[in-house]
Assembly symmetry: C2
Homo-oligomer: 151 residues x 2
DNA sequence: TCTGCACTTTACGTTAACGTAAACTTGGCG
DNA sequence: CGCCAAGTTTACGTTAACGTAAAGTGCAGA
């Protein structure tokens, strides 16, 4: 299904600075970086997952947006819906101005998400077991074939 | 999103036998067991994921079908499409009559799936890290609020 | 100035994975 | 027998997550 494991390393042009380079991206750059279409990126904005700056009519994406997009795609790979992902992302930066009630609610949601992650981990473990079993059955059948061929 | 972590333990009526009880299920039983609708089960059949026996017009599900359904739902939780799941399931029992070529192909697919699982594991790990960070930020904010309130 | 390219908005189309409704059998049981 | 609950088929509806096409904007270079 999705191949692009990490951003495709668009070679940083030898700017020897530290991390926060205050870089910006066009929609095209970002789309190439993550191997998604511009349309997808605009759709995510429409769904409240991104909120790029505007210079006139065109969108300007900062590091924050890049991180959000990364989180979004990761979430998708784990089978979350965009709505669910937005929920987490909204937590992510609606933090500083949160009152105690909001924050408590956040902790609950976080706990739920954590449980989900644990469940998914278990799913993966079981799935890997199945793969192991199928492979070993597969290999044993192959072995039988070999013996019969050679003997 | 999905809650039902395991089949809802439809109390086995004290039949003290071993595992292969040769039990069968109606579509209703199966649907309650996994908390999906009958419609979903029929749809999975239509998509080639299940192939229940027929007694007249009505479907009879055996252990094999139950296992397949379980695998299917697990796959779904991991974000696989039904088509992808069918691919694995077809491997699963098209084994005995496989020629060497087929079996080699299987091993390739298995390897690919295994890689996918690894990738997903990494995604989960990263996602858990994010959750940790958000939670710790969250807690520190809460602490600040407390101090300010009390002081 | 014209051209081309990257970006924009608007809007309709598409696919997967079911939901929902209608109309029809079928096996028990009071 | 009559009826109900659980099963069936057929078919149209719905939602999420984009794809795709049309038509316009803005600007750098020949």
């Amino acid at each position: 299904m999705p191949k692009p494991r990490q951003e495709a390393m668009a070679s940083p042009p030898a700017t020897g600075a530290l991390k926060p380079q205050r870089r910006t991206y066009s929609i095209g750059e970002l789309s190439r970086l993550f191997e998604v279409t511009p349309r997808t990126i605009r759709f995510y904005e429409q769904e409240g997952l991104l909120a790029p700056e505007r210079r006139g009519q065109t969108r300007i994406y900062h590091e924050k947006d890049r991180v959000r997009l990364k989180l979004t795609l990761r979430g998708k790979r784990l089978g979350f819906t965009l709505a669910e992902i937005r929920e987490v992302i909204e937590l992510y930066d609606a933090m500083p101005d949160g009152n105690a009630r909001q924050l408590q609610r956040m902790l609950e949601i976080l706990s739920a998400k954590r449980a989900e992650m644990q469940a998914r981990l278990e799913d993966i473990r079981l799935m890997q077991q199945e793969l192991d079993e199928v492979e070993s059955r597969c290999r044993s059948v192959l072995e039988q074939l070999d013996r019969h061929d050679v003997t």
